[in-house]
C-alpha cells in the first residue's frame, strides 16, 4: 500500500464509541467487516439498530463475507474536502453486499475507468488512526 500522508486535522473521523456503531468499528479494527442481523430470521439490518431497541434482544452482529458488487459510483473532482484531496480523483462507491445491504465506501487500487456496474469487489482495510480503521473496497478479480 502506498504511504498515506499524515491524517488531515479536519478528517471526518467516525465516533467509534457510538453505542450502535461500536461493533462495526471494532470489527474493522480487527480486519473484519461485520453486520447486524435478526437472530430469528437472519435478515440483515443496515443501518444497524440500537440493541436497546424493542427487538434488540433478537439482534446479533456477525462477520459478513466482505464481498459484494458495485451498485453505483461517482468520481469526485475538485473542489473537495481538504482531508481527501490527495486521493482525487476519488471513486466513491455504493457496494451491494452479498448479504444484501448497500454500504458507502471508496475504491482503492482501481482506476476510475476500470469501474463497471455489477463489478465484483472485496473489502480491504485502511488504518486511519490507532482506533479508526476504515473498510474500503478493491476489485475482486
Amino acid at each position: 500500500m502506498a504511504a498515506r500522508p499524515p491524517l488531515h486535522p479536519d478528517y471526518p473521523l467516525p465516533d467509534v464509541d457510538d453505542p450502535v456503531m461500536r461493533p462495526f468499528w471494532e470489527g474493522a479494527r480487527a480486519g473484519k467487516l461485520v453486520q447486524q442481523r435478526d437472530r430469528a430470521t437472519g435478515a440483515v439490518v443496515w443501518p444497524p439498530k440500537p440493541m436497546y431497541w424493542k427487538g434488540g434482544g433478537r439482534l446479533e452482529w456477525f462477520e459478513a463475507s466482505g464481498r459484494g458488487r458495485v451498485y453505483t459510483w461517482v468520481v469526485a473532482h475538485e473542489p473537495f474536502l481538504p482531508a481527501f484531496r490527495h486521493l482525487l480523483p476519488l471513486v466513491l462507491v455504493v457496494v451491494e453486499l452479498a448479504e444484501g445491504p448497500r454500504l458507502v465506501g471508496y475504491m482503492v487500487r482501481c482506476a476510475p475507468e476500470a469501474m463497471a456496474f455489477g463489478m465484483p469487489v472485496r473489502v480491504a482495510f485502511e488504518r486511519l488512526t490507532e482506533r479508526v480503521t476504515l473498510p474500503v473496497w478493491e476489485p475482486d478479480r
Binding site: D10, Y11, P12, L13, P14, D15, D18, M21, W46, P47, Y71, T72, W73, V74, V75, A76, H77, P79, F80, L81, A83, F84, L87, P89, L90, L92, V94, P101, R102, V104, G105, Y106, P112, F117, V132, L134, V136
Partner: protein, 393 residues
Amino acid sequence: MPDGLDRDLFRRIQDRVAIVGIGQLPFAKDIGRPISDTAVEAIQLALEDAGLEAEDVDGMSMFEMESTHEVSIARRLGVRQLTWWDKIAYGGGASCATLMHAAAAIAAGLATTVVCHRARNRGSPASRPWAQERALVRDDKALHAPWGLVRPVDVIGMWAHRHMHEFGTKREHFGNVAIAARRHANRNPRAMMYGRPLDMATYLAARPIGWPLHLYDCCLETDGALACVVTSVERARDLRQKPVLVHAVAQASGPNPVHLANYNATPAMETTAAFCAKLLWARSQLQPADMDCAQIYDAFTPLVVMGLEDYGFCQRGEGGPFTEGGRIELGGALPVLTSGGGLSEAYVHGFNLLLEGVRQIRGTSTAQVPGCRATLVTGASGVATSAVVLRGA
C-alpha cells in the same frame, strides 16, 4: 395510507388556508448581514404585500438548520405575542412543510396568522456545510462522511449514475433541465443568472464535479431570505392579494431513511419523494394532469428527472425522455422551474420555488403560464421531504 384518509386531519384543512403575502430580499452572493436580520426584513415585506401588520402575526413556522430564534425574530418584527411556532430542518426538504404545519395550526385554532420563512447565507465557499466537516462524525453521518461522501453533488450523483444505468437516462436529459431553468431565469430580472444564457454545447463541455455530474448540473449557492404569510380563507377575503389556496400538502420520510445518503430503500429507486407524492395525491382532488406547471426541487438536475417520476408525471425511468422537445419549458405541456429555480434563479433551499408557485397562481410570474389554476411545489427527493399543491380560489 388511503385507509386512514377519512380520519386524516387534512380533509379539514383542504382549501381552508391561503397564502396572502410573499416577500423576499434581492438574492446575492454576499448579502452582508446575518440571517437573523434578513429574515425579519423578508417577513416585513411579506406582511406589507398582504396588507397586514406585525401585530396581526401570532404564529411562526420556520425552515431552519442554523440557530436563529423565533422569539428574537418576533421581537424585532414587533409581534405582540407568538401563541404557536415551530422549526423544520432537513436541507432541501422543508419548504412546503412550513406551510403544512402553519395550515394545521390555523385549522386547529392554535394561531390565526402565521409567517413562514427561510433565510440562508451560502454564497461564500467557506460557508458550505461540506467544507466545514470536522471530527467526530456521529449518527447518520458516520455511515458516509468517513469515506468522504459528504458533498451533496456526490450523494445525488450516486442516484443519477444508477438512473443512467438502469433506464438509459442521458446527460442531455439532465441538460434539458439546466437549459429550461436557465431560459426561465433569463425572463426573471431577480434571477442570479439573468442575462447569462446557457446552451447544450456549453452544458456538455463543463468540467466534472462529481462525475457523471458536471458544473451545470449543480445549483447556485446564494444568500437569500424569503417569507410568506398564511391565514384562514375567511381572513384572506379582506386582504389585498388574490388568495392562493393550500389545496393539498404532505411531508414524508420514507422507510429506513438515512439523511442524504439513502441507499437502502426498497425498491432501491423509491426516494422519499415517492412516498410524499403518494400521500399528497391521495389528499388532493387535483392530480398530476391538472398541474399547469411544476416547481420541482432542483439542487441538482437529476432531482428534477427523478421528481417528475416520483410525482407521477411519468413512469419510473421515463423522466429523462419527458424533458425532451421543450415539454418542461414555457409553452410546453409542463413548464418546470418557471423562475429559474435553484439552478438559475437562486438556491435558498427551495423556498424560492414556493414563492414562484404563489406568483403563478396570482398570474404575476415573469414566465407566466397563461390561466395557471394549479401548481405543484416540491422539496428534495432523497431527504425527508414535503410537497404542496397550490390553487386559485
